[in-house]
Each structure stands twice: as C-alpha cells, then as structure tokens.
Symmetry: C2
Subunit: 155 residues, 2 copies
DNA sequence: CTACTTGCAAATAATTTGCATGCGA
DNA sequence: TCGCATGCAAATTATTTGCAAGTAG
C-alpha cells in the first residue's frame, strides 16, 4: 500500500489532501510493527508541523477508518490503536500483555466460521468481528527476570 | 466455578465478603452468555441493593481481575466488558449491533490457530484471546423496516 | 468560491481517586 | 476493634463536538 494509492482513495471520496493528513499517513506507514495510539501519532506529526492538534489526529483517523484505510484495535489499556490495513483487508494480532507490541498474524477465523454455516443456521448477518490473542512475546519471555517493570517497547 | 469457591478465594486474600461483592459475583455468574459492561452489572446489582454505586462495581471488578477471577475484554465500542474466568471452557458470541443480544456459538478459533503452530513459530506464549462477531440477529433483520430506532432488547 | 478542514475550547463518556463514614471478621 | 469497603463528589483520561477562521481544488 503506497502513499499515492491512499491519497487517490481519499481524493476519490471527496476528501482533501492536507499536509496534516499526509503526515498522518506517513506516520502510520512508518510504524508497521506496532499499532500506534492517537497520541503517539500526534507526537510524530507534531515533529514536522508543530501546531497540529490532537483533535485533527482523531478526526482523520475516523475518516481513514471509515474508508477502511486504517483499523482500530482495542487493547486492554483503554486506549485505541490504529494501523494501516494491508491491501484493503484487516488483520488479527498476537498482543503482548507486558510490552503491548502487536504482531499481525496471517489467519482469520471468519473463514472457518463461514464454512461451518453457523451464521446461516442462526440467520445472523455478519458485519464485523474481533479476534485478538493476548500473551507474552518472545522478547518479553526472554527478559522474564525483570517482570514487573513495563518497558515502553519491546524492540 | 461455584460461588463458594470464589468467596473462599477472596477471603484467603484478605478481602471481605460484602453483600455488594456477592451480588456482583452473582450477576457475573448469571450472565455467562455475554461479558457484561460495568454499567450493565451495576444495573443488575442495583435491582437488589438500590444504593450501590458504580464506583463500587469498578473497584470490585478490578479486585476480581487482580485475583484472576474475572477477565476484562475490550471490544470495539470503547467500554470494557467483564466475564468470569471459565474453569476450562469459554464461549464466543454473535452480538447484535442493533439490539445487543448475544448468542453463544460452538466454535473457538484457538484450536485452528494452534494447529497451524503460529504461536510457536513466533515464540509467543498465549494467555487469553477474544473473538466476537458483530452483525444483525434474525429478529432485528425481520424488523429491518424500523431500522434507525434501537430497542433495548430483541427478545 | 465553497466545501471540506483545522485549531481552540468546551463537552462527553468511561473509569479512577480522595475522603469521611460504615461494616465484616 | 481494625482495616478493608462503600458512597459521594471531584479528578482523570480518551475521545468527540461546536464554532469561527483557513485552505485545497
């Protein structure tokens, strides 16, 4: 997913390309390993345009979510995190309970569910789903001696 | 998981057994179908003890989470939901976006994930997972003419 | 020009905390 | 009795919204 494609998609839907918006996209593209919170994205964007407000970040993330350009993850810490959708689809993750790192996995349970016809049987119309796995990542498992302190990032 | 076991576990850890606390446990036990939000649990407890405050619910849920008696789920709607930790099995649900009804399904994606060895490959230690499906239930689909109004319950 | 956008400030919503009083063991 | 618990109100945190001014197309 390149920047130009995203820009085009925005334009096609009547949205304008502001420097703020471009910078938000860049921030999202640079941080593929760990979904970013609105505040983290803001910190990044502010480095370039020091007067961008946090509301702008939220507003843009909502626009991008509506266009299915990003998806919003809810971890257990109360704040949402956002990541670019790969090729239009969505992802599920292994989320570390200690450091918060999220690693995308190449598996979606919906296919198996559809094969079983569970939704049809219950006459349920599927719209969205959530599937996230929580536990400890390899880096945190290695460092299990320091457990108790929560580092900001694993990497 | 019976009430007495939970009560004992609390007592063992120096916590007292207050009527509020017992009622919260009951509410959680009665609602095994769908993880409840703090507010829903509060509504339930208030039916019996009308002066219980929402803070008490939160405080107790945090205590129970600390003892690993309940776990906190973060769905996509910004609020946390709580459920008793299952003594073995657990459930996933079809959750109606319109009326909120939740129907348990007989499928857990973790098995398929384990078969694929994804966690081993990434050296990830799985502790918990969430899987919920959102959409429209059969009753709400029948009544799709009134869409726009959100009734409190389907049934 | 004229929507869409932004920054600011104020508004919400969920959850937490301080404090004095209450109550289980 | 003693320390955990509770209710109330106020504080925090994440996120949204109203409004007037700015700007991309």
């Amino acid at each position: 997913m390149k920047e130009q494609q995203l820009v085009d998609q925005l334009r096609r839907n009547g949205y304008k390309i502001t420097p703020q918006r471009q910078e938000i996209l860049k921030a999202l593209m640079e941080s593929s390993r760990l979904p970013q919170s609105a505040e983290e994205i803001h910190n990044r964007v502010v480095e370039k345009y020091s007067n961008v407000s946090l509301d702008t970040i939220y507003r843009n993330l909502n626009v991008l979510e509506g266009l299915e350009i990003v998806s919003r993850l809810s971890l257990k810490d109360g704040k949402s995190r956002y990541e670019l959708n790969p090729g239009g689809s969505h992802q599920h993750h292994l989320i570390c309970l200690r450091c918060g790192a999220a690693e995308a996995i190449d598996y979606c349970p919906l296919k198996a569910l559809r094969e079983r016809g569970i939704a049809e049987e219950k006459k349920f119309e599927i719209r969205e789903h959530s599937f996230e796995i929580f536990g400890y990542c390899s880096l945190c498992r290695e460092r299990s001696d320091e457990i108790g302190k929560l580092p900001d990032k694993c990497s």
